[in-house]
C-alpha cells in the first residue's frame, strides 16, 4: 500500500484511516478540511440516520478495540428513540500491552475521530459524547481538546449543528492509569467517577450504560473508519480484507523488528508480510521465535504458526489465538518465553480490579510461581499448577480480565513447556539483554 503521496491531498483510496497522515499540520481543522475532511459529516446530515446505520452494518466493520464484534450490529441494539437521553462514548483507553495505534491516529489526526463521532452521533441520535482517553496520554488529550475547540468554533459541535436542528456536545475525559477502564463497563464506572470496576452484562451498555442510560461504546479506530465508509460505501470497504474480516486494520508492531510502528493494511495480510515488508524484517537478522499477535492477552504463536498466519479475525482464531487490538509483539531467538510469561502475569495481577475472587486471587497465584523461582523454591510441577489454575479462572468472572491472563499463560505452556520448566528451575533471570 505504500505509494508516493501527494502533499495536502488525502489518499482516500490507499488507506481508510491513515489517508491524511502524510499531510503536514493536518491536526489543524483548516488543513484537514482542505484535504476533504468534514465533507462526509456535512453530507451525512442530509441522510436518514437509519440509512447510515445500514451502510455501517453492510460494510462489515468490526469493533477494533479487541472483541471484533460487528459495529453495525452493536448499533442495531441501540434505542431508535431520538429524543431519549443517551450517550456516545469513544474508547481511547488503549492499554492492552503492545497497543499504540489509537495514540498514533489521534495525535496526528484528531479530526478524523471527531468527524467519525459526529456522523455516528447523528446516526445514533446521541446528544452527548465523551472521548475517554487513558491518563498517560495527556498530550493527546490536549491535542483532542484543541481540535474540539476548533470544531465548536466552526459550528460542527454544540447546539443546532449547521442549522440542522441537531445538538451534539463532545468532551475529552481523562482516565488515571488503570488497564481495566478499557473494558467498556469498567470505562463507564470510571466515567461515573468511581473505581473502574466492570459491571455484569447483560444489561449491555447499549441498553443500560453510563448513568443507567443507553450508551454506545466504540473504539477510536472503529469510529474513525466511519467517514471513509460513508464516502465510498460498504462495497468499496469490503473490497479490502476477507469475507468475514472486512476493511483495513491498524497494527501496532513492536519488539525484535527493524522498524517498529503503526501500519494500516487490509485484514488478511500475512504476518510474514507485515514483519518482512512493512517492518523491515527481524532485528540483527535474528531468527523469529514467537509472536504475540493481538496484545498481551492473545496466546503466543511459535515460529511456524507466525509464518503461516493471516492477520484476520478468523485465521488468527483458527490457529488458537486472537487478533485482539492488532498489537503484534515480535520475539527473536534470543528471548526466553519464561520472561514473557513473567512480565505478562505480573501485569494482569497488578491490573485485576479485585471484585471477582477467581481473578483477584488467581492472577496472584499465577504470578507467585515466579516469586518462588527467585528464591529457588519453584519446581517443574509448578507449570502444571499454573496451567490448572489458569484453566479454573476462565469464564468465572464479570469481565474478561481473568481470561486475558489465563489464555496467554496456557498458550505459552502449550507451545513452550520444556523451556518454561527450565526457566522456572533457574533461580536467576535468563535471556536478559
Amino acid at each position: 500500500m505504500e505509494r508516493i503521496m501527494e502533499k495536502d491531498t488525502a489518499n482516500y483510496k490507499d488507506y481508510s484511516l491513515l489517508s491524511y497522515h502524510h499531510i503536514p499540520g493536518v491536526h489543524n481543522l483548516e488543513v484537514f478540511e482542505r484535504a476533504g475532511g468534514y465533507e462526509m459529516m456535512k453530507a451525512c446530515f442530509d441522510k436518514d440516520p437509519e440509512a447510515i446505520k445500514e451502510v455501517v452494518k453492510a460494510s462489515g466493520l468490526r469493533g477494533r478495540g479487541g472483541a471484533g464484534f460487528p459495529t453495525g450490529v452493536k448499533w442495531g441494539f441501540f434505542t431508535k428513540d431520538r429524543n431519549a437521553q443517551k450517550y456516545l462514548l469513544c474508547n481511547a483507553d488503549e492499554s492492552e500491552p503492545g497497543t499504540f495505534k489509537d495514540r498514533y491516529l489521534v495525535e496526528k489526526n484528531p479530526h478524523i475521530l471527531i468527524e467519525g463521532m459526529i456522523i455516528s452521533a447523528w446516526a445514533l441520535g446521541t446528544q452527548k459524547g465523551y472521548i475517554y482517553i487513558r491518563g498517560e496520554f495527556q498530550q493527546q488529550a490536549v491535542i483532542l481538546e484543541r481540535a474540539l475547540k476548533e470544531a465548536y468554533a466552526k459550528g460542527y459541535l454544540g447546539k443546532n449543528i449547521l442549522g440542522k436542528g441537531f445538538n451534539f456536545d463532545l468532551y475529552v475525559h481523562r482516565g488515571a492509569g488503570a488497564y481495566i477502564c478499557g473494558e467498556e463497563t469498567g470505562m463507564i464506572s470510571s466515567l461515573e467517577g468511581k473505581k473502574g470496576q466492570p459491571k455484569l452484562k447483560p444489561p449491555f451498555p447499549a441498553i443500560k450504560g453510563y448513568r443507567g442510560l443507553p450508551t454506545m461504546v466504540n473504539n477510536v479506530e472503529s469510529l474513525a473508519a466511519v467517514p471513509w465508509i460513508m464516502r465510498f460505501g460498504a462495497d468499496e470497504y469490503k473490497k479490502w480484507g476477507t469475507e468475514k474480516s472486512a476493511g483495513t486494520k491498524l497494527f501496532s508492531i513492536s519488539g525484535d523488528v527493524n522498524k517498529p510502528g503503526v501500519i494500516e493494511v487490509p485484514l488478511g495480510t500475512t504476518l510474514k508480510e507485515i514483519i518482512e515488508v512493512h517492518c523491515g524484517g527481524m532485528r540483527n537478522g535474528n531468527k523469529l521465535k514467537a509472536v504475540v499477535p493481538g496484545g498481551s492477552s492473545a496466546p503466543v504463536f511459535n515460529h511456524d504458526e507466525s509464518y503461516s498466519v493471516k492477520m484476520d479475525y478468523e485465521d488468527v482464531a483458527s490457529k488458537g489465538s486472537m487478533l485482539g487490538s492488532g498489537a503484534i509483539i515480535v520475539l527473536d531467538e534470543t528471548r526466553n518465553i519464561g520472561d514473557l510469561m513473567k512480565w505478562t502475569l505480573e501485569f494482569y495481577h497488578h491490573e485485576s480490579c479485585g471484585q471477582c475472587t477467581p481473578c483477584r486471587e488467581g492472577t496472584g497465584w499465577l504470578e507467585s510461581i515466579f516469586k518462588r523461582r527467585e528464591t529457588g523454591k519453584a519446581s517443574k510441577a509448578d507449570i502444571d499448577t499454573l496451567d490448572k489454575t489458569a484453566a479454573s479462572m476462565r469464564g468465572q468472572t464479570i469481565c474478561a480480565l481473568a481470561d486475558a491472563a489465563a489464555m496467554p499463560a496456557q498458550g505459552m505452556i502449550k507451545s513452550f513447556r520444556s523451556e518454561l520448566e527450565a526457566y522456572i528451575m533457574t533461580p536467576t533471570n535468563t535471556g536478559k539483554k
Binding site: 437521553q85 488503549e94 492499554s95 492492552e96 500491552p97 503492545g98 497497543t99 499504540f100 495514540r103 452527548k128 487513558r134 491518563g135 498517560e136 496520554f137 495527556q138 498530550q139 456536545d169 468532551y171 475525559h173 481523562r174 482516565g175 488515571a176 492509569g177 488503570a178 488497564y179 470510571s190 466515567l191 461515573e192 467517577g193 468511581k194 473505581k195 473502574g196 448513568r211 501496532s252 508492531i253 513492536s254 519488539g255 525484535d256 517498529p260 510502528g261 503503526v262 504475540v292 498481551s296 498489537a327 509483539i329 520475539l331 528471548r335 520472561d339 514473557l340 512480565w343 505478562t344 501485569f347 497488578h350 491490573e351 480490579c353 536478559k432 539483554k433
Partner: protein, 170 residues
C-alpha cells in the same frame, strides 16, 4: 529502602483550596457532565496540577465541594495509578516495565534510576525534585524502552540517557 522527608509544596495540615482559576475550571467541568460525580476524575487531576498530590486536606475540600463522601474519593484515589496519596516530587517520571520495554531493558533502567537517585517507588528524591514510578504499558512500544518525564514521552532510552535527562530537570 530509603525514606526521605521531602520538600513538599504542600505541608500536612495546611488547608487546601482551589486557586480562583482552578475553581473556574471546576465550574466549567460541571457543564460537561449530567451529574457532579462524573467530574471527580478531572477534579482530582486538577488538584494534582495545583499541588502534585492528594493530601487529606484536599480530599476533605473536594468532598465538601462536590458533596461526595470522603471514602468514595479515597477508593477512587487508591484504584488509579496516577493519583497520589503520598507526597511526590516536582517532576513525575514513569518508567515502562511492560513486555516490549522489558525486552529492551526497561526494568534495568527503572532499577538503575532508583539506585542513582537513592530512592524507591514514588518517594521523592532528597531535593524534592523527582519521583519515580514503574508503570504498566504506556502505549508507546515503538519507542521501547520508553518513559514519561512529566507529560513528555521519551524513548528509546538507555540508563545513561535516562539519568542525563532526569538530571536536567528543575
Amino acid at each position: 529502602m530509603s525514606s526521605h522527608s521531602p520538600n513538599q509544596t504542600h505541608s500536612m495540615g495546611a488547608p487546601f483550596k482551589f486557586t480562583d482559576a482552578n475553581l473556574a475550571t471546576y465550574q466549567e467541568y460541571l457543564t460537561r457532565y449530567d451529574d457532579v460525580e462524573s467530574a471527580l476524575l478531572p477534579v482530582l487531576h486538577l488538584v494534582q496540577e495545583q499541588i502534585k498530590w492528594l493530601p487529606q486536606e484536599a480530599i476533605e475540600y473536594v468532598s465538601v465541594l462536590m458533596n461526595i463522601p470522603e471514602i468514595k474519593i479515597k477508593e477512587v484515589i487508591s484504584f488509579y495509578d496516577m493519583f497520589y496519596d503520598v507526597p511526590v516530587g516536582r517532576n513525575m517520571v514513569h518508567v515502562c516495565t511492560n513486555i516490549t520495554c522489558s525486552m529492551f531493558g526497561g526494568r534495568e533502567i527503572y532499577a538503575g534510576l532508583l539506585k542513582h537517585f537513592d530512592t524507591d517507588y514514588l518517594t521523592p528524591t532528597r531535593d524534592g525534585r523527582i519521583s519515580l514510578q514503574k508503570m504498566e504499558c504506556l502505549g508507546a512500544c515503538e519507542m521501547a524502552p520508553c518513559m514519561r518525564i512529566n507529560n513528555d514521552y521519551v524513548g528509546p532510552v538507555d540508563l545513561a540517557d535516562a539519568i542525563n535527562k532526569l538530571e536536567e530537570l528543575p
